[in-house]
Amino acid sequence: MSDTPVTYVRTQMLDQQAPPTSEVGPVRWVRENLFSSPMNAILTILSLYVVYIVLSHVGPWIVNGIWNANSLTECREIIATTGDGHHSAACFGVISARWHQLVFGYYPSELYWRPVLALVVFLVGIAPVMFPSLPRKLYFVTAAAPFLCFWLLWGGSIWLPISIALGFGVGIVANKVLAEHVSALAAIVGVIVLPLIYWILLAGPLAGGLASVIPLEIEFVPSRSFGGFMLSIVIGLSAIVMSLPLGILLALARRSDLFIIKTCAVVFIEVIRGVPLIVWLFTAQLLLNYFLPPGSSFDLTLRVIIMVTLFAAAYIAEVIRGGLAALPKGQYEGADSLGLNYWQSMQLIVLPQALKISIPGIVNTFIGLFKDTTLVVFIGLFDPIGISNAIRATTEWNGIYWELFLFIGIMFFISCFSMGRYSLYLEKKLQREHR
């Protein structure tokens, strides 16, 4: 031991100083991320070389691509005459020539404005939900959007979507009346059963009756005309929009104390989740009509939307259940101790937090669902893949593969990537801990 005194008193506090230049900016980034060790440096150079090889082959193919050709033969002729002979070139002519088909399928070309308008209505309707800073009045559009979009896409009498919408009114009234005059349980049963009875027995005749009194209709477009990205978007977005509330209800039901509700939810989730989507799609195509009342022909696209919705809802329910389980028990108790009832505490306390935790999982499921809509090609619908098969079956474009798949891939990537970005935005916005 030296005899340094133990006592030490600092008389002056030190000020903050700037870090050395090697510790900030791009220099530091490159050093830390690309050349932190000899091995890392070798890997960096090797990766750059691989990137170069890929780009040097694919780059010219894309850059020299031919956009104005009406058939594969014509395209190849153009390449043979203008190209340098060393590089191949892409025939993007198929995309410009068949653009409308890739986007709208066989939808009547004079009615293209309808799906476009439906998309606009949808975007305006979803906007206040996605960005709460927007005026609350937009929620009226949100409520009307599903019915308006349905009418714009399929056309026909306007009274059908209106009489379907009335079913929700029936549910709301039933809930209110039964909860006040009978009991909470009766209200829950009533809110499910009464609208169903209305839809099955009354909605059709009511719409027909109203249509015969005041005929208000636009041209009907059958589902088999739907195709291309429009079909993917119709199936994908409807399923996304409907599966989230359904998934939330299923997740809550699965955590319920009521045995029957819980068992129903568990059975539903496990059965739906345990069978591949493609099997459910075949079920939708072949079997579902057997279960419906005789004489009712239920549109194939609608059947597919319902199946995809149920399938996604089962996954969403499990993702949200994870979020519910991650919430500390104290949050439930805090809500209970203030006298909030079950639905209030779910709506105000539990779900906002559980959904926030589940955002990455929910968006992950949505992205998967959107890409899975391409499976409908197997039941004969013309989604982008189906359309590309159809295009290839024509004499003009027989034998074209890469250009179409690249295009479809890019379109799906853009949609899915933006969903992922939105999820990050939402997570950041809802961050409460370190502001």
């Binding site: 101790s337 006298g339 909030l340 801990e433």
Partner: protein, 263 residues
Amino acid sequence: MVELTQERTVDRSHMQVSDEVAIEIRNMNKWYGTFHVLRDIDLTVQRGERIVICGPSGSGKSTLIRCINRLEEHQAGDIIVDGTELSSDLKNIDKIRSEVGMCFQHFNLFPHLTILENCTLAPIWVRNTRKKEAEEIAMHFLEKVKIPDQAHKYPGMLSGGQQQRVAIARSLCMKPRIMLFDEPTSALDPEMIKEVLDTMIELAEEGMTMLCVTHEMGFAQAVANRVIFMDQGQIVEQNEPTEFFNNPQSERTQLFLSQIIGH
């Protein structure tokens, strides 16, 4: 243990115990599975009483007060709060919960809502108070617990002591007639315990009926009119504080007191 009595004198002018019964517990029993957590609890709380419940961990003291607002279900016996009997009737439960405030060891504030929203939530949704009025009430109680300037922050940005005071304000916004405290200072740093206890003393001075599960014996001596000692799910001893601390009757109480006061 934090000393309080030396620093401030407690104003006892409003601390009056009335004859009116606030809570009556008769022959209450509770089991967790096969484990008998609460055994034959009999307890009558008069309006205006300040009761401190203490005992070793696992003695059932938290479970007891959590039964009073039905966070835990009892299996036998009666609990009558403010004349309403606790049964499985949801209406009664919600009614009792809105009359009985509760503060938890871990505060249980809602992290996704601001302090003000935490305080206005229940008045707006349970009492149907208008938003503006609810905010006025909330600010009044936030001033009372001395944190009105934090109203627009989120709970995660506050210290533990501040969070617990917000939790007290949140309960008070419902204008409860009874307050339950479940180890309100056990999760706090020593520096912050005092500010929470001060708030609780103020509440006692105003004549609030309080049941506190706590190990703060200084608090018990300062404001309680009755101290209850529990062990193995039973009430072992209850007495007024001076007698309880200076002259404990049962051996179990003596041992417990020697252990917590010895340090």
